[in-house]
Symmetry: C2
Subunit: 337 residues, 2 copies
């Protein structure tokens, strides 16, 4: 059997309550006896039993991470692992454990989440997606369960702590960057405007165009299911684009393929700027200019504010913005047309 508080108490000649207070480094205990107790803990390799602590404390020191409904494509996007890595980093620091929650459907997810909270398995949740009318979010809200979301929540916005990029600004920065390179015909490809992230970036892009007195053309925006034909007609317009903003690095690869099939060679025919700065971006040919949104930090900050909230429920609601920066590579060049 593992070593318990009793073993330590006996060997250090104190009561178990004293040992417990030493574990918590309570100021009520004299340094002398702390030292004595700690010596015994070290000697026996004592580690407080986690379940017993949780039961007595009503704290699990564990957070749930909610993934969007699992489909392979989503999981292969490094975004998730990278944000989990950020969460994990902070969690390890604070001695918290994480439990990843996945499910095939909304209902299944809700069942699991309810089970986990009722069973007191976790103290709170980080939600890695955001969508309208999410029953899971409603549940958290109604039951007053601590949670933070990565991205922009679509419910109870002002009351929920979330960490996000300034996506409007990111979209604007990218457009302005291209405008400074002399581009005045800039299309936006792979923008899933049903998602807030992309909607905001597109708004930023449009704002930049307006400020530069470039006319905004809605048909210059292609959703992520664009076909090679869509792309072709884009380039067959009277004024074809000289630069493309791509919604996600993951789209850049198929896009490049299509462009080369259409006979365009990059970056001469067209500059490319994308979002996320995955390691993929460096590998492409030409290497892709991409906006680094610091996914790791999104995860890290989400975990940080969730744990703060758990440890102190009076902690106020926060809205944290993680800065982005454009990582310039060979795919974007000065416009020569």
């Amino acid at each position: 059997m593992a070593v318990t508080i009793k073993d330590i108490a006996k060997r250090a000649n104190v009561a178990t309550s004293t040992v417990s207070r030493v574990i918590q480094d309570s100021p009520k205990i004299s340094e002398a006896t702390k030292a004595r107790v700690r010596k015994e803990m070290k000697a026996l390799g004592y580690e407080p039993n986690f379940s017993a602590q949780s039961l007595a404390n009503k704290m699990t020191q564990s957070i749930g991470i909610i993934m969007p409904e699992a489909d392979v494509a989503v999981f292969q996007n490094p975004f998730f692992l990278e944000s989990i890595r950020g969460i994990s980093d902070l969690a390890n620091e604070k001695n918290f454990t994480m439990a990843i929650v996945t499910a095939r459907t909304d209902e299944e997810l809700l069942v699991r989440v309810k089970m986990m909270t009722r069973a007191n398995r976790v103290d709170g949740f980080i939600v890695l997606y955001s969508k309208p009318e999410d029953p899971v979010i409603d549940y958290f809200h109604n039951e007053k369960i601590p949670y933070t979301v990565i991205g922009k929540p679509q419910q109870y916005v002002s009351e929920t702590t979330h960490v996000d990029n300034d996506n409007f600004q990111a979209g604007k920065d990218v457009a302005q960057y291209l405008i400074q390179l002399g581009h005045d015909s800039i299309a936006y490809v792979g923008a899933d405007v049903s998602r807030t992230v992309h909607k905001e970036r597109v708004r930023g892009y449009q704002a930049a165009l307006e400020e530069a007195n470039i006319s905004v053309d809605e048909t210059f925006i292609l959703d992520p299911n664009f076909s090679i034909t869509d792309l072709e007609s884009l380039f067959h317009r009277s004024i074809p684009p000289t630069a493309l903003i791509v919604g996600d690095d993951m789209h850049a690869l198929p896009l490049q393929t299509m462009l080369s099939q259409l006979g365009f060679s990059l970056p001469e025919a067209c500059s490319l700027v994308s979002f996320n700065n995955l390691s993929l971006a460096e590998m492409l040919n030409p290497p892709l200019t991409s906006v680094d949104i610091d996914i790791f930090k999104l995860g890290y900050q989400a975990a940080k504010s969730l744990i703060e909230k758990i440890l102190d429920p009076k902690e106020m609601t926060k809205h944290i913005i993680v800065p982005h920066r454009i990582v310039e590579r060979a795919s974007s060049i000065r416009n020569s047309r």
Copy 2:
């Protein structure tokens, strides 16, 4: 406060011990009282307190997942998230939770693992990497802590349950596939033979060549740090390769880039076959023929056998082979030279 076993007992007019037996669906309890108790559980939305169960049972229903030392590149490889998804799937099924363990160094990792086991935070571990003389593995082995490894363990092989592909066969299959396409000059690029996976695949590749009476040339094998110059000299040999086997889909993209910089157009100049069948493989141009090693199932099976071992320590050691299959795409064609 959450609803407890006492609340249920009171409302169902039974002792708490009876409720506990109903939770466990013990055959000792009559169906009649089971039904009565269950009705109350449902009515109150009761879920047994997890910490209390763990404490009483000495079971945490939680498994640790050990990642290799964290560096960004590793984390961006979808392999890990995909195997975690497989683990997660089974874990959810069995009502287990997972805790991801990461660290920057070996020592830190060992400290965390010790802390977690001593604190009784998890019942066992899945190790997502394998390397020689791993102190973490030694610790598990000495303390008799259940663990399974994904890949081939390098210590206590026969005593440790592991799940892996038949990498020798996979390497052989790939080579034979290319041989059938008429290739007789096949190089192997991006093989990190310090890792068992790759060593075995290379052995399989060599075996296939021998069986086909093709001479085996060690200089036809390039490690993952190959430069464009290495590649160039490969193709400047008296008999240049007509096909390349690539160690990992992740290497295929930079490889393609280099080849195109050298003026080769694929697949005419050279066929390509790779491993892992990440979603990346489909996106490449030409789409990449790749060996699907079923990463999801590697994770799923690892979790399955670990949990079996946890629930029944007498469960025997297993060595599970997950089948692979070649997914043929446009990057590999019949040799025309």
